[in-house]
Symmetry: C2
């Protein structure tokens, strides 16, 4: 009995530690799976397959290294403050011309569609260069220009990219999408016979023919941070928004040139594709665009766009 009364406190402590450990562990898994800002989430966040684990904006991770350029007015950075100001007087059009130009540009852009049937015909490389040069004119947080455009025309690399994307896609559907998803797929497969004759237009499987067929694959990487002369990391604020804006201008440039693409954000392929293309660790895949002429038998779903009144409010 004396023996017990001596050991009871020790037992109590051990018990508490065990309980505490279990508690903290569960806490850890919970928080990592709800914070896509951590790559740990990649393995633990299986609950949300649609969140690309390599896609998150790492600003908050790298920011601690150097927070000299945080600002809300883009390009309005320290460097800029020290630059001389130049007069700026861009071309100004008469009202009639403005109206005409804005109408014509709308008509041109409104003809753009996501196209999965891309012709293998070659496209002049200079056009692709011009289009990407245009994307590079986008604004970016503190003028960091945090984008890298990888243009793949090598058939072997294109095929390796296809294998990586399709493998991940298959996993996404088979393992990650869960029961509800599998049922949806089953339903679709039954009714949607059309899909099978055009696999790459079909969401119910993971075949991406256009990754082999398109003359060019443009892989757009966001640079989550830069390296300063002193070797320190330089945070790229709003890097994901900046690169997405640049992609918008890229899509406009492609449409203007008469080329087609389909905007895709391959789920969780980022790390593998980054390694395949030998990109540095600060670059993360944001988008993959197969680019070319539309196939002669290309089709698009009969989609409607929202009316102007549904997206615009005057105050």
């Amino acid at each position: 009995m004396a023996f017990l009364s001596v050991f009871t406190p020790v037992l109590a402590v051990v018990l508490c530690l065990v309980i505490g450990f279990v508690l903290v562990k569960s806490w850890d898994t919970e928080t990592t799976s709800t914070s896509p800002g951590k790559s740990k989430g990649a393995t633990k966040g299986e609950k949300r397959p649609w969140v690309d684990q390599d896609l998150q904006d790492d600003t908050e991770i790298t920011a601690k290294e150097d927070d000299g350029d945080a600002d809300d007015d883009w390009g309005d950075s320290t460097e800029e403050e020290n630059l001389t100001q130049l007069p700026y007087s861009p071309q100004r059009y008469p009202e009639e011309t403005m109206l005409q130009r804005s109408k014509e540009f709308y008509t041109l852009m409104n003809q753009r569609r996501s196209v999965r049937f891309i012709s293998p015909e070659p496209v002049p490389r200079e056009v692709i260069d011009n289009v990407i040069h245009t994307a590079g004119t986008a604004p970016s947080g503190a003028h960091t220009e945090p984008w890298t455009f990888i243009v793949v025309s090598d058939p072997d690399i294109k095929h390796q990219i296809r294998l990586i994307v399709e493998e991940e896609e298959e996993m996404n559907y088979r393992q990650r999408m869960g029961e509800k998803w599998v049922q949806d797929l089953a339903k679709l497969s039954k009714k949607n016979t059309f899909s099978f004759s055009f696999p790459s237009s079909c969401r119910t499987n993971w075949i991406k023919e256009y990754l082999d067929v398109a003359p060019y694959l443009i892989l757009i990487f966001k640079q989550t941070y830069g390296i300063l002369p002193n070797g320190k990391k330089k945070t790229h604020y709003y890097n994901e928004i900046s690169v997405s804006i640049s992609c918008g201008i890229l899509l406009a440039a492609l449409q203007n040139a008469g080329l087609v693409t389909v905007t895709s954000t391959p789920l969780n392929c980022g790390p593998k594709l980054r390694l395949l293309l030998k990109r540095p660790a600060n670059e993360k895949l944001l988008m993959l665009l197969p680019v070319g002429y539309p196939a002669s038998d290309a089709t698009v779903p009969d989609l409607k766009r929202k009316h102007l009144d549904d997206i615009l409010v005057h105050v």
Copy 2:
């Protein structure tokens, strides 16, 4: 002594509980401050003032409601699967024309600059409508079109927006930017006398004259989720990327019309501006663009853009 030996286990348990509680508390603060995906971070994440607490993509939060449309090929959604396919044959240009068009579009876009000196001259509203209609042609995850464009021309509302933005800006600089930041500001204020003659071009204070002066303020909201007919939330996948792409096309359309703007993402003003403009809870402010003609005496910093070779890699 017997008294003590009876109470030792109790004391031990209390001690463990206290230690455990302290440990878990610190854990909590840490994780919330590194996960901008939680609005709790807004109050606790003071360490990272540049992370707009209202800006994060809520996909992972709302996704649990309905995960029927997760996909990597945008617009490749269930609805689409059930739509009839239409032949698509957009205009195709001869190679010479393509080259010419891609060059001209680059030249036009390369003239775009972020301009903070905006003329108060009126701009035809129809041009603004066309420009936003153009932005609405952007692709979006599962064709959710998750954007709302609020165009403010009312002087009072513009001024209220200015007050909200400037108040937040001042707080950002004064309270949140930390010691290092305050020192940087002091340095800049000393050497950068130029700034004071053009406050709105100066990062070292928080005056945003253009919010009063510009004939239009375009506030771009991302819809983090939609509401299904059955009242359930419909997740808008990649809504932040989609809306940013749409902003890229908007910037291209403005430039094409001869109008100027400065891309800004007001730090933490989202909630106040959302309430001011009476926007629903699923809409979050992504960007604020003052739009108009450039002022006759407008200047821009002597910035250079990266060379094509620094942003483009052929494989």
